[in-house]
């Protein structure tokens, strides 16, 4: 939708044109709502063992993988959708979805830029992914020789069901890091995949994770060998393009002893009237002394201002800190999706392991977000920290749901949780549902939560400095989120800050 479709802004007297333009620029509608008109190849609608087999076949998978998927599907058929989250949405017809779609041009790898489907290139251009990376994403052979010497981020882009390309593979290889699509990993590194896939999020974990296990089409795979500090940030870019298509990606990250990796994840989807399904699974295995940072900016299409369309985002993310002194940090900025159901968790198994969770969840219009984390302390002297900032505006509902569990053997462990909610407008809701379970006395758990509205004094201060009300709110909200924004890698922090402003468009006045 073009920016001019924006409802007339109520310009108050004395506000200059520059301010109006600046706010107008910030408050554009969903920026990534366009659709790439590209020829797609679909599997028939619906899900059944044949579709599962077909997906497996399309990915050229070995038999053990097909078997694994079929078992998951069998299990899924016996499960029912969870209903405990504070979200309401019309019943999903799981048979009325496409479970596999990929750009037709990907059937054969293009040899040069000329052969790349220009529409695919255009898509990534629009998404702001640098050209050099576009070449690689488009699968042009030899594209990695384009070197510019700037700060590098290796990207794995997933377009609907398939990974369309991974950048900087060669350079990563030199460092010993494996970064490729999961379908590639299943073929090239079956021993690693076999060992780790499903070891953190078991096949039968929950309804959506089980469905994902059966039908996941692609995703990213990362293996960082012992002692290696990954030379660049790794990033996956997810894009749902095709209509009525569910995206089920699977990410597996293994940080071997003493290694380090920072991983970024971004998501967008076109604007459509019908809701689309996204059910991903992310598994992270962290061995002794290793550290993983996982940052997400989730900006799936949230539905329009009347609550029509949008992505249903049902995601299972879990990190298993297996080794002693291992460390994981989840940072998420959740601004998109019509419905979010997501609880990135940390299993702190290794002694002295650490888990951190920083989250900003913004829900505007008719968005519903039920998100939080689980910190399961199993090892001695484990530490966790949760900072969650929920912002509700319009008619949105925003829930923080979290579990902190100190098991009897997790002596001397520590948790600190802070979850704050901000309400903008009188028709939205902000909810907090923490579970705290302490089973030994040498551990300390602290939980704090507050709910308040945007402070009038702060708004007044900004306004009297000449700021528009909406701008002022964006500034105050950015301040409210500061703790979390600071935890984001630089690339994401800027984007996130702008997203905060954009997501709140139309929430004031």
């Amino acid at each position: 939708m073009a920016a001019t479709d924006r409802p007339e802004m109520d310009v108050k007297e004395g506000v200059d044109q520059e301010t109006v333009d600046a706010v107008a620029k910030l408050s554009g509608k969903y920026k990534y709502g366009w659709e790439t008109d590209i020829e797609m190849e679909y599997a028939p609608k619906g899900v059944n063992p044949d579709i599962v087999k077909l997906i497996s076949e399309k990915n050229d998978e070995p038999e053990w993988m097909t078997e694994w998927r079929l078992q998951a599907f069998e299990r899924w058929e016996t499960m029912s959708e969870p209903d405990w989250a504070m979200v309401n949405y019309p019943e999903i017809d799981f048979q009325d979805q496409y479970y596999y779609a990929r750009p037709k041009s990907m059937t054969e790898k293009p040899k040069s830029l000329d052969e790349v489907d220009p529409k695919l290139l255009e898509t990534y251009n629009k998404l702001g992914i640098p050209l050099k990376e576009q070449l690689i994403l488009a699968g042009v052979e030899g594209a990695e020789d384009y070197k510019e010497g700037e700060r590098k981020v290796a990207v794995d882009a997933v377009f609907d069901s398939v990974s369309v390309g991974t950048t900087f593979q060669a350079e990563l290889k030199k460092a010993g890091v494996i970064f490729c699509s999961i379908s590639e990993a299943i073929k090239e590194h079956p021993e690693l995949v076999k060992k780790y896939l499903g070891s953190v999020v078991p096949v039968s974990d929950n309804f959506y994770a089980t469905l994902n296990s059966a039908v996941f089409s692609d995703g990213s795979f990362v293996y960082v060998p012992p002692g290696v500090r990954c030379p660049m940030e790794l990033s996956t870019y997810f894009r749902i393009n095709a209509e009525n298509t569910g995206q089920f990606e699977r990410t597996l990250i293994i940080a071997d002893k003493g290694s380090y990796v920072s991983y970024l994840e971004g998501c967008t989807a076109p604007q459509r009237d019908t809701a689309q399904l996204h059910a991903a699974v992310v598994e992270i295995i962290i061995e002794e002394d290793a550290e993983v940072k996982y940052s997400t900016v989730q900006n799936w299409f949230p539905g329009d201002e009347n609550g029509k369309g949008g992505i249903y985002n049902f995601v299972t993310k879990r990190a298993d800190c297996r080794g002693a002194r291992s460390k994981v940090m989840w940072t998420q900025v959740e601004t998109g999706s019509a419905v979010t159901w997501k609880y990135p968790s940390c299993i702190l198994r290794g002694d002295d392991s650490q888990g951190e969770f920083y989250s900003i969840a913004i829900a505007n219009n008719y968005q519903q977000a039920d998100t939080g984390t689980k910190m399961v302390h199993l090892g001695k002297n484990t530490k966790s920290r949760i900072v969650s900032k929920g912002i509700s505006a319009g008619k949105a509902q925003n829930t923080y749901r979290g579990l902190v569990s100190m098991h009897p053997k997790a002596k001397d462990s520590r948790n600190y949780t802070q979850c704050d909610s901000l309400l903008i407008g009188s028709e939205c809701g902000a909810h907090t549902v923490p579970y705290i379970e302490v089973k030994n006395n040498s551990s300390r758990v602290e939980h704090e939560a507050t709910t308040s509205k945007v402070d009038d004094d702060q708004l007044f201060y900004c306004r009297q400095r000449g700021m528009d009300e909406e701008e002022a709110v964006a500034l105050v909200v950015n301040g409210f989120c500061k703790d979390v924004l600071q935890a984001l890698p630089m690339e994401f922090a800027m984007e996130a800050q702008q997203l905060v402003a954009i997501s709140l468009e139309g929430s004031v006045g």
């Binding site: 100190m406 902000a430 549902v433 705290i436 006395n441 300390r444 758990v445």
Partner: protein, 429 residues
């Protein structure tokens, strides 16, 4: 949705063992309605989310689990306060031990007596608040109580009560199973204090419905005794009018299983509701659950929940608290704190402090902490010559103090503070 089989079986077995009173007079309709409701919703089972941390099996079994009778020291918990005494022994009214049920400013009747009539002012109250309290979370044990309550008090305060009403629940049998129901109506401008103490029975299901009219106030202090083995499910349902006040405090020490539910609806502007509790628990059997649900449905209301639990020797303390602020309940001030102090490594503190907020101009906060006693503080006290055990007790009492501050009546607060000190010094024995 169809109920799970285990729930249907449990409910059927329990209901079959009970029978509605033959002549229930004005309570008849409410009782029958409750029976059909409880049949429909089924009794709680361990798998229910609302019973996540407390196993309800002993509360729903056909026969109560046997509970030894201890020489109770509960009788005189409120000894220093002049009260009107009412005594129930194993859930049966003891006329001899009770004072005459007359008190200035208040009328007191017994549920069992009044049922001979077909018309009673309490007809609109009986079961009404319990029914309203079933949404959004079901409380089937309270519904069971509406159907099968055998006795209880019907209290109507029309002025300022001359003195508190003290209800003692004594236990003499190891297998008694009591279901009692109190109804309290506090008229506009009136004030009344209800004190409760004692183990009551091997198994005790008690529900109190309290309607507090505009500008009225209701105070409630409960000492759930020590060294008992009884299992109890208690519930208080309160509805508050404009500028009214509701304050409830519960103290528990040792014993076995207790589930205390408090459900409050603030329906009048500027009303306040305070709910607080302390518990000291020792032993693997000890399981104490405070489940509180406060609904703000009016402007400028204030609610406070303050719960402190001291646990040792495998004891378990549970807190499930919720503040629900409805749309339009602006200027709400909601506060909730739950804290667990674990005196040894085997005890558990399980908490689920919830906020659900649909109004923007509110200040709501909750906090929950759990940990051991501060070693530095102990060290400090020991360095001043205080023996370790005494230092621990001192710090424990300091920890509990915030909750005890919620009691308005200084005399009662002081009595309970002393009692806690004694209970702390001498653990279960």
């Amino acid at each position: 949705m169809a109920l799970p089989k285990v729930k249907i079986d449990t409910t059927e077995a329990r209901l079959n063992a009970l029978s509605l009173p033959a002549a229930a007079g004005w309570t008849q309709t409410a009782r029958q309605d409750a029976l059909s409701r409880v049949t429909e919703m089924g009794l709680p089972i361990k798998r229910d989310e609302y019973w996540r941390y407390t196993d309800p099996t002993a509360l729903t079994s056909v026969e109560p689990v046997a509970a030894s009778v201890y020489a109770s020291e509960n009788g005189d918990v409120f000894g220093s306060t002049e009260c009107l005494h009412v005594v129930f022994v194993d859930g049966v009214f003891d006329a001899e031990a009770s004072d005459e049920l007359t008190l200035d400013g208040v009328t007191i009747e017994r549920l069992a007596d009044s049922q001979s009539a077909d018309i009673h002012w309490a007809k609109d109250l009986f079961g009404a608040l319990e029914t309203a309290g079933q949404n959004p979370v079901q409380r089937p044990l309270a519904t069971l109580n509406t159907a099968f309550a055998t006795d209880g008090l019907i209290i109507r305060a029309s002025g300022k009560a001359a003195k508190p009403i003290h209800v003692s629940y004594l236990q003499t049998k190891t297998d008694s199973d009591a279901i009692l129901r109190h109804l309290v109506q506090v008229d506009a401008g009136a004030e009344v204090t209800l004190l409760e103490s004692g183990p009551a029975a091997a198994r005790f299901n008690i529900v109190t419905e309290v309607s507090v009219a505009d500008t009225a106030s209701f105070h409630h202090v409960r000492a759930q005794g020590r060294d008992h083995e009884r299992r109890a499910a208690t519930a208080i349902f309160a509805r508050l009018g404009t500028e009214s006040a509701f304050k409830s405090f519960t103290m528990t020490a040792n014993g076995v299983m207790t589930r205390n539910e408090v459900v409050i609806e603030l329906t009048g502007d500027d009303s306040i509701a305070h709910v607080a509790g302390v518990c000291i628990g020792a032993g693997r059997d000890f399981h104490h659950d405070d489940t509180v649900f406060i609904t703000h449905d009016a402007e400028r209301c204030e609610s406070r929940q303050v719960f402190k639990k001291v646990l040792r020797d495998n004891a378990t303390g549970v807190f499930q608290g919720k503040i629900l602020v409805k749309e339009g309940a602006q200027k709400t001030d909601g506060y909730q704190i739950s804290q667990g102090l674990l005196l040894d490594d085997d005890s558990n503190f399980l908490a689920k402090p919830e906020l659900e907020i649909y109004a923007d101009d509110v200040a709501c906060s909750h906090g929950s902490t759990c940990g051991a006693i501060d070693e530095t503080a102990i060290y400090y006290l020991r360095s001043r010559g205080v023996p370790k055990a005494e230092a621990t007790d001192l710090l424990t009492l300091a920890f509990l103090a915030e909750a005890l501050d919620e009691i308005d009546d200084e005399t009662i607060a002081e009595t309970l503070r002393d009692r806690l000190a004694i209970w702390l010094e001498r653990p279960q024995g």
